[in-house]
């Protein structure tokens, strides 16, 4: 992936995305210089702590940030077309019709006073020329596809008559209803229990294969990334820390923050390891340091880290860190000796 120009076949191509809010306490830089591509049929995971800007980035791309004090800059190309700066009515045809979204909390995601069927039909008819009957039938099909039992009668049920996991399936059905090229999932499994989590991720993987859509999945859980993502973007303080294929990032992480994230994942196969925690607290968006955002918490920081590292690397595995490959190798070998890698 080259960051100089957008890929021509990428479904979504983001360059230099920055989002800031002007508040009474000052300017909050929520996203700073985010860049990535999502190819066709690809699953991209965006991972980071709370407050890393991952959700804000995706929402602002689609015009879902309604705050009057927001400033969004950069380039976001969806299927080659620049969508940042489109008017709200133009975005309305993109949202739902070509880009589907799934949100974190299924319990509150659906309007309580309409049946799920009605809500799916609403979306279908907003983007397609369909009669109510046709749309209704399609809604039943969609519910079956996501694994809702007895869809013919459940299509007339209200959201509160479904459990959390079932509701999330309905939300997924709704998001996929218009066969969008891109599906954005914001922490879709965080509010669910572990078993349901696995089911939902499994479902998403299958649907992605059948519908042929790309997925951007936002999460703070590296386990989810390992489960379903082809490529990963690691974000810290609104900035990209590391980008690359999932296997590469997980097997050979380059950024110290990624090391911390991976170290924090409990692993059953390694014996007697203390969970590594990243020292310090997540940086407040009001006080992002001038140089590398992670420097204050990084045990490998150097003098040059007072200058913001660019996002660069060989091939399609990039990182924003001043550490050279030799330095990394050395760190890794000493860590292995100490039993930490």
């Amino acid at each position: 992936m080259s960051l100089d120009q957008s890929s021509t076949d990428a479904v979504l191509s983001v360059r230099d995305l920055s989002v800031s809010f002007s508040t009474r306490q000052g300017v909050v830089q929520a996203v700073d210089g985010l860049a990535f591509d999502v190819g066709p049929k690809e699953v991209l995971g965006i991972v980071g702590e709370s407050g890393s800007g991952k959700s804000v980035a995706m929402y602002s791309m689609l015009g879902l940030v309604r705050d009057a004090n927001v400033t969004i800059s950069g380039s976001v190309r969806f299927e080659g077309r620049e969508i940042l700066g489109l008017s709200d009515s133009e975005m309305q045809s993109v949202r739902g019709g070509q880009v589907g979204m799934i949100f974190q909390d299924p319990m509150t995601a659906l309007t309580p006073v309409y049946t799920v069927g009605w809500q799916i039909v609403e979306q279908l008819r907003a983007h397609n020329e369909m009669t109510k009957k046709q749309a209704h039938e399609r809604a039943v099909e969609l519910l079956a596809e996501v694994g809702i039992p007895d869809p013919k009668s459940r299509v007339n049920h209200y959201p509160h008559e479904f459990s959390g996991g079932m509701r999330q399936r309905v939300v997924i059905a709704m998001a996929l209803s218009c066969n969008p090229k891109l599906l954005i999932a914001d922490e879709p499994t965080t509010a669910l229990d572990v078993t349901t989590q696995a089911q939902i991720l499994d479902l998403m993987g299958r649907l992605q294969a059948t519908h042929g859509s790309s997925i951007v999945i936002i999460t703070h859980d590296m386990g989810v990334i390992a489960e379903i993502a082809h490529r990963v973007v690691v974000m810290y303080a609104g900035r990209p820390a590391e980008i690359g294929p999932e296997l590469a990032v997980v097997r050979e992480p380059r950024h110290p923050y990624t090391w911390g994230l991976l170290g924090a994942v409990p692993r059953a196969d390694l014996k007697t390891r203390r969970l590594v925690t990243i020292p310090g607290n997540a940086v407040s968006p009001l006080e992002v340091p001038v140089g590398c955002a992670f420097a204050p918490r990084c045990q490998y920081r150097m003098e040059i880290c007072a200058e913001r590292p660019p996002l660069r690397g060989a091939g399609d595995h990039l990182d924003a860190c001043w550490l050279s490959d030799e330095q990394r190798l050395e760190i890794r070998s000493t860590a292995t000796v100490r039993g930490e890698a």
Binding site: M91, Q92, V94, G96, T108, V113, E122, A126
Partner: protein, 323 residues
């Protein structure tokens, strides 16, 4: 659903019963007050006092007195006023009811239209100039005593401008709908506006608050992500969810009004509805009349409350599970 309705009805009856007991106690059992004198009115002769005592069993135990009162009120329906000797109460109330209903009907239409539109406009334009402006009018509307407003309206329409701008405003009174629809509306126009103002203010404020609340909910974000127009989101999703509160408020307000709470408006404009009747009773301390009106009023409030609860279950599907 049927179980829900019957349970609700049962508790409504219980409340009615309790109210009737309470009213009875207030009027007949307050310490230091002589019930016979209360019933007979201010200017009662000793003979009347004795008769009253006999008829209402004032020398008998409390529960029997209660029973007798209820008997006179509901069964025999011959509760008569002792101030206007011989005038039966029940027919007076039933004759006055249509007037009150006419007043409420028009006011309801106006206040729903104005209040809801104002609430929507204010919520849509939140933060811009028109929002605080509408809200200010709303606050003013609820701070004006309704009866005083009626007086002010009367002063303006019947005063100096009566012969020019407001020549069309009749000088109070009521014309029955069946008699002359145009005159009916004409006579009720200003009473409608006066009564509606208070409620329009309330509803505008409540709706604005609810709408803005609901627009911040997650399901609105989902609706946006579905690519729906802002207009559709506001009206079909946010408004629909906000109506739940409005409906329950509405039910109670109408119930109270039908029961005669608009009494001062009626008096100011010379409309002889149930409220006006209650007022007459108060002026003359005509106890049977007051009792009759209070029971009538309480009945409607309780009824309205029960209807609202049932309606609520219909509008908000979530409640049906609980019920």
């Amino acid at each position: 659903m049927l179980r829900f309705i019957s349970k609700r009805l049962a508790s409504a009856l219980l409340v009615m019963f309790t109210i009737s007991v309470l009213v009875f106690l207030i009027f007949f059992a307050t310490p230091g007050v002589d019930p016979a004198a209360r019933i007979a009115g201010k200017s009662a002769t000793p003979a009347v006092l004795r008769q009253v005592a006999k008829e209402f069993g004032l020398n008998r135990p409390l529960p029997i007195r209660y029973g007798l009162m209820m008997f006179h009120l509901f069964i025999k329906q011959d509760l008569t006023s002792y101030v206007n000797i011989g005038d039966r109460i029940i027919p007076q109330i039933t004759a006055a009811a249509p007037i009150t209903l006419s007043l409420i009907f028009g006011a309801v239409v106006i206040w729903l239209f104005v209040g809801i539109s104002a609430g929507v406009v204010a919520a849509k334009n939140k933060g811009k100039f028109i929002d605080p402006l509408v809200m200010f009018f709303g606050i003013t509307a609820i701070s004006i005593p309704v009866f005083w407003l009626g007086e002010m309206v009367t002063i303006i329409t019947q005063g100096g401008l009566h012969h020019t701008v407001f020549a069309w405003v009749p000088n109070g009174g009521y014309v029955s709908l069946t008699q002359n629809p145009w005159q009916w509306a004409l006579h009720l126009f200003w009473p409608w506006v006066t009564l509606a103002s208070l409620y329009a203010g309330i509803y505008a404020r409540v709706l604005r608050g609810e709408l803005i609340n609901n627009m911040n909910e997650d399901y609105i974000r989902t609706a946006r992500a579905k690519g729906l127009s802002e207009r559709r989101i506001l009206y079909r999703h946010a408004l629909r969810c906000s109506m739940i509160t409005i409906v329950s408020l509405f039910g109670l307000d109408v119930g109270v009004l039908v029961g005669g709470a608009a009494l001062l408006t009626e008096v100011v404009f010379g409309l002889q509805g149930v409220g006006w009747l209650t007022y007459q009773g108060l002026q003359n301390l005509d106890l049977p009349l007051i009792m009759g009106c209070v029971m009538y009023g309480a009945f409607f409030v309780v009824l309205a409350s029960a209807v609202v609860d049932v309606l609520y279950a219909y509008i908000d599907p979530r409640i049906r599970v609980v019920a």
